[in-house]
């Protein structure tokens, strides 16, 4: 088996180039089928997302010219894009595939979508019969490695957007967001996004207050919430557990004394203020009130930044996991490939041994059980001693992926049957 991978991604090519090679979902099956039938290609699969287009193939004899496939498929000359393309063979190809599936090659390292996208591409390729034993083994291994990376490192566990960090913090205060009320003060885009995230994680009803009441009414309708008049703000704010404030007010609208009032009316149940306004809507002094937690935009962004740094450290850990998994995977594949040769070598020699013992028996006549044993032992010992070096050499050569010539030599030297195991199973 020979693996090759050709692709463009967000790092090697700007979006203008990537979109030239993108294959829409509706045409993916057909394109994959064409790839699988391309000369020299045995099995193939195409991953096409907004950040990458990758062709992965396994071929039986020699290299496949994947650039030619691109030329043919897109009916264009690819040589102007040469600087944006990358191509990997064998070990490098396996490694790249593992890294992509584990989201280490993503624009935002650790983002979870890519694994699903690779899985979809795999399903499509299987659907059209473009993936069989070889690619199947490698790609399912890639899924297992991705799972291991996610399990053993924190690379995908932390939130890296302001809205998701807000949700994460809210959960650290309230546990579950089930039935929690959210108050949007100011009807901005960012607060709407944060509210959507909170709702998606189970938050209950939404209140909206805005200086222009009509906008509050409109936004409340979109969230099926309740519009509150701005002059009723302080009377109603304590009904909310989470307040997202984003008004254009020049001064703080929530001050310490408001916080104390709210908490008294709420019987000290905690409140979470998310202040995404600049200048700030919530007086920082408010954070000193017991039971009130205030995060402004800088706080949220610094959490995002620290999560990104954490991810970098975890990514290094993940790279080490990938490296060992690539080694294991390749060693297993090449050992598997060499096994039939070793088996037929042993069979061949064993047949010779049996035949010679039979002949000797014909000449010597009946032997005592002791003599039988002695002959058996002697011949076996000779066979094993002779075979020992060829077999260990074959095995170690297999691990270094230089086995094909040696394997051929052995087959010819010992006159083994032709290499049948590499033929594809009948469809």
């Amino acid at each position: 088996m020979r693996l090759s991978l050709l692709g463009v991604n967000h790092r090697t090519a700007p979006v203008e180039i990537r979109e030239r090679f993108a294959i829409p979902e509706s045409r993916l099956a057909e394109a994959t089928e064409r790839l699988a039938h391309f000369p020299g290609v045995d099995e193939g699969m195409i991953v096409s997302t907004c950040n990458r287009v990758e062709l992965l193939v396994s071929s039986v004899n020699g290299r496949t010219d994947l650039r030619r496939f691109l030329c043919d498929y897109f009916k264009t000359d690819v040589s102007p894009y040469e600087q944006h393309l990358y191509e990997f063979q064998e070990r490098e190809a396996v490694r790249h595939l593992f890294r992509v599936a584990a989201s280490l090659d993503s624009m935002i390292v650790g983002e979870p979508q890519i694994l699903g996208q690779v899985k979809e591409a795999f399903a499509v390729a299987r659907g059209v019969g473009a993936v069989r034993s070889n690619l199947n083994a490698v790609v399912t291994k890639a899924f297992a490695v991705a799972k291991r990376v996610r399990h053993e490192t924190q690379v995908g566990s932390s939130s890296v957007s302001v809205a998701s960090v807000a949700v994460e913090l809210a959960k650290k205060i309230f546990g579950s967001l089930e039935g929690k009320h959210v108050f949007l003060v100011g009807a901005g885009k960012m607060s709407e996004l944060a509210a959507r995230h909170l709702l998606a994680h189970g938050a209950g009803s939404i209140f909206v207050a805005n200086r222009t009441h009509d906008r509050a009414v409109e936004m409340a309708r979109r969230f099926e919430g309740e519009a509150i008049r701005f002059d009723q703000l302080y009377e109603t704010a304590d009904r909310a557990d989470i307040v997202i404030s984003s008004t254009g007010a020049p001064h703080a609208i929530f001050r310490r004394e408001h916080g104390l009032q709210f908490l008294q009316r709420r019987k000290n149940r905690p409140m979470f203020f998310i202040d995404i306004a600049v200048p700030r809507d919530v007086d920082p002094e408010m954070n000193k009130v017991d039971g009130i937690f205030v995060y402004d935009i800088d706080d949220l962004q610094s959490v995002v930044a620290s999560h990104l740094t954490d991810r970098k450290g975890e990514a290094e850990h993940a790279e080490r996991i990938i490296e060992t998994e690539v080694d294991k995977c390749l060693a297993r594949f090449s050992e598997q490939e060499i096994v039939p040769t070793i088996v037929s070598l042993q069979e061949q020699i064993e047949t010779i041994r049996q035949a010679e013992i039979d002949r000797a028996r014909g000449r010597l006549g009946a032997m005592t059980p002791e003599q039988e044993l002695a002959v058996e032992g002697l011949t076996k010992a000779i066979v094993n001693k002779i075979l020992h070096t060829p077999i260990t050499t074959l095995k170690s050569a297999a691990r270094e992926s230089e086995s094909t010539t040696l394997e051929e030599t052995i087959r010819r030297l010992f006159n083994l049957k032709s290499d049948t195991h590499k033929k594809d199973p009948p469809e």
Partner: protein, 270 residues
């Protein structure tokens, strides 16, 4: 035999003790993965030890200091495991494990023959009294631990230190655990005290009330009451609740140790 099981349990609890030192201070994946299996196994052996002791002496009430330490440690451990089973948090171990380890270790060093020779201890009322009060102690300790962890998490959230925040459970979860521990412990403590006074009334008359241990126990009960009341009435949590429950815990600790000053609880002579 019971002593042997207890000694093995102590070794397993040692893993918990390590966790309470290092579990929260830095990333310790191995310890975090080991701590529940190890301490659960410890608790199981501990239970075996308790059952064997009970069979040996023919009744459940602890008849030596060591037995009572062992029983209390086991109740604390059982509560911790119950919290883990419900909320999947090991944070409480930071407080529970050292106490459990110390009590179990002390109990496993050696066990004397029954030293409370009083026949009283064999009566049902006393058994109820001791078991219920111990359950109350364990619950009180858990709510004390909850109030401290609540404070830590509140600090973390206010200081915006993501490390602390991520290692501890959510604020309301901690609050709920502490509150439920109080709700669970209060009836135990109350009925346990009532059972105790019924026995004491019969044995000593009303004079038993002036005993230091009894007075401390009543003070502890009042603190319990106050904790629950402030919680119901004005939703006290955080700093104020932590202050109250620390005080309640301190009183409980003194009451536990007051056997040495107490006439009523000295069963040696009577």
């Amino acid at each position: 035999m019971p002593l042997l099981w207890l000694r093995i349990a102590v070794i397993f609890y040692g893993v918990g003790l390590l966790y309470s030192f290092f579990g929260l201070s830095r990333k310790s994946d191995l310890l975090t993965r080991l701590v529940i299996p190890a301490t659960a196994l410890g608790a199981l052996l501990h239970l075996v030890s308790l059952v064997e002791t009970t069979l040996e002496y023919g009744h459940i009430a602890p008849t030596t200091i060591h037995h009572s330490e062992s029983l209390l440690a086991f109740l604390c451990m059982a509560l911790f495991l119950a919290v883990w089973a419900r909320y999947r948090t090991t944070a409480f171990g930071v407080f529970v494990f050292p106490l459990v380890f110390l009590l179990t270790f002390a109990a496993s060093v050696g066990q004397q023959p029954p030293e409370f020779t009083s026949q009283l201890l064999r009566k049902g009322w006393i058994v109820a009294h001791v078991a219920l009060i111990f359950a109350g102690y364990a619950a009180l300790f858990l709510s004390f631990a909850a109030s401290i962890i609540y404070l830590l998490q509140e600090r973390g959230l206010k200081a915006k230190s993501s490390g602390m925040i991520s290692r501890l459970p959510a604020l309301e979860v901690i609050d709920q655990i502490g509150y439920r521990a109080l709700l669970l412990g209060f009836p135990f403590m109350t009925i346990g005290l009532v059972a105790g006074s019924v026995v004491a009334e019969a044995q000593f008359g009303s004079a038993f009330f002036l005993d230091p241990k009894i007075l401390l126990s009543l003070l502890m009960w009042a603190m319990y009451m106050l904790l629950l009341f402030t919680r119901w009435n004005s939703g006290w949590r955080g700093r104020r609740a932590a202050f109250l429950s620390s005080f309640a815990f301190l009183v409980a600790l003194i009451a536990w140790g007051a056997n040495y000053f107490s006439g009523v609880h000295r069963f040696l002579q009577s």
